[in-house]
Subunit: 338 residues, 2 copies
Amino acid sequence: MRATIIYAAGDVRVEQRDKPTIQEPTDAIIKLAASCVCGSDLWAYRGIEDVKEPTPMGHEYVGVVEEVGSAVTGIKPGQFVIGSFFASDNTCEICQAGYQSGCVHRQGVGGAQAEYMRVPLADGTLVATPEQPAPDQIASLLAASDVLGTGWFAALAAEVGPGKTVAVVGDGAVGLLGILSARQLGAERIIAMSRHADRQALAREFGATDIVTERGDEGVAKIKELTGGLGAHSVIEAVGTQESMMQAIRSTRPGGHVGYVGVSHGVELDGQELFFSHVHLHGGPAPVRGYLPHLIDLILRGEINPGKVFDLELPLDQAADAYQAMDERRAIKVLLRP
Amino acid sequence: MRATIIYAAGDVRVEQRDKPTIQEPTDAIIKLAASCVCGSDLWAYRGIEDVKEPTPMGHEYVGVVEEVGSAVTGIKPGQFVIGSFFASDNTCEICQAGYQSGCVHRQGVGGAQAEYMRVPLADGTLVATPEQPAPDQIASLLAASDVLGTGWFAALAAEVGPGKTVAVVGDGAVGLLGILSARQLGAERIIAMSRHADRQALAREFGATDIVTERGDEGVAKIKELTGGLGAHSVIEAVGTQESMMQAIRSTRPGGHVGYVGVSHGVELDGQELFFSHVHLHGGPAPVRGYLPHLIDLILRGEINPGKVFDLELPLDQAADAYQAMDERRAIKVLLRP
């Protein structure tokens, strides 16, 4: 089969690999309907994370179950399924508390930018749709696999709700879907921080009521100005850099909540500033699995259309072009068809 | 009048100063019934914080109102009152959200280790008891002024509640009263981290069910061992050092809550570790004012006796001895009588 492999920064190739097989009785093999490139894939592509050896890429996936291991009882071949970037048993105490991405049996899931992939702990990890989805629902279901689920977690971690003013730091797919999530969760006012016209337009379509183009200290000052000098109740951080984290923390009012989901790179938080900021800080790898049933339902009922973050679609063979387009910010997010 | 002044690390003196007077129409002057030395006073005493000029000390206080400014309507001369270390208007949006210590008109309150003190924003800051308290209630009411209110906030910030396992890092007065608070809030299991027999005994009296004497990585391992490998649901941090913060974060299960109230000194948090820890982090200067009515009620009804943290009582004239006793850990907390 064809699979996408990263060899080094900037060097992504689609090549022939063996089709994955069942390794554990709890595994499933999926024939992918679609996959995509994640903002977090760019850390390696840009050389910020080391590539130690050629590595299969991709952790966002939807597809049809091809085969299941002997211990899998809830998922059947032929079903259309969505899963998340961490496999989880969905039964341990941590999963039951809603933190499937911290499952005591957690395993990374990879190699989704390919024709087939193996998913461990299939019963706990995969959620099947009631029937085969329509072709125009695939993109939105794929978004649920990571960027929507992550934006949703960020909004929950930031305690978004009715009457709240929400600020969103980061205008990538996760930030944009954080806006959609905040809207769904009843936020009164949603301030998108973005300086790109195309992303601003999508932010507004997803529910942003205000746009702030300033960054850093100026961005913080603008948020304060829009919130009576206090800061936002809830701030979503969807980048993962020192600047974006400080922008998020400083944009939050005392007692407010920061939900941070940008994978942290080189961030150091000063304890004393955090102490006196009085914010709540919560985030990490999103427990997408827990939200999938609700998010899938919203998508299939046509209430949300998160698939709009995919502004470029390419055949799997052009995965290298997909990485390049996202790296150069020519595309918000690229969908790959095997 | 007599007042306690710090001149330099290790140099605390009681000397004559002018009796404070009304400066603003919202002020009150209080004749102190009791004051005390705070763990946070020791940062300066130990030279960890600079003493730039001779500074009046003390921010924990109970006493009788002597005089009020012309704009004060809710507090009257003759009333017995308790206040907190930050003056607050108790009406702004931040106060109303429960963060009086982040009040938009917040002012520091100081000079309580004296015969008299000035309290700004008296209507918002002070809470009067229904009648003059009995002599044996004074110590507990004084504890409410800071250490109990701070322990209470830590427990709330750590989302302590029924069915939860709570770990407490720090066996000073705040940590011990965090235990009392956790018990009041219905925690199922309370693990005190302490290696001092006298503090362990008080921890158990306040509600600790387990004692862990190990610190750092060994302390974390012990908490994990006591919680099925997962970590505590809620962890109270009441020290403020790098070691204590990391001990608190690493003792918390994914999705759990750290409530940190030790004034942060030299703490740097690694963003990536925090991200993957999946904990909730909340803390800062406790909004004690908001809790005072409830805590005073619990004390006057005899339901709690937080004054037990005062294991040494000295006349104000011996304030220097009080600092020394706490610095040398010969006393948990010293009450000063003017």
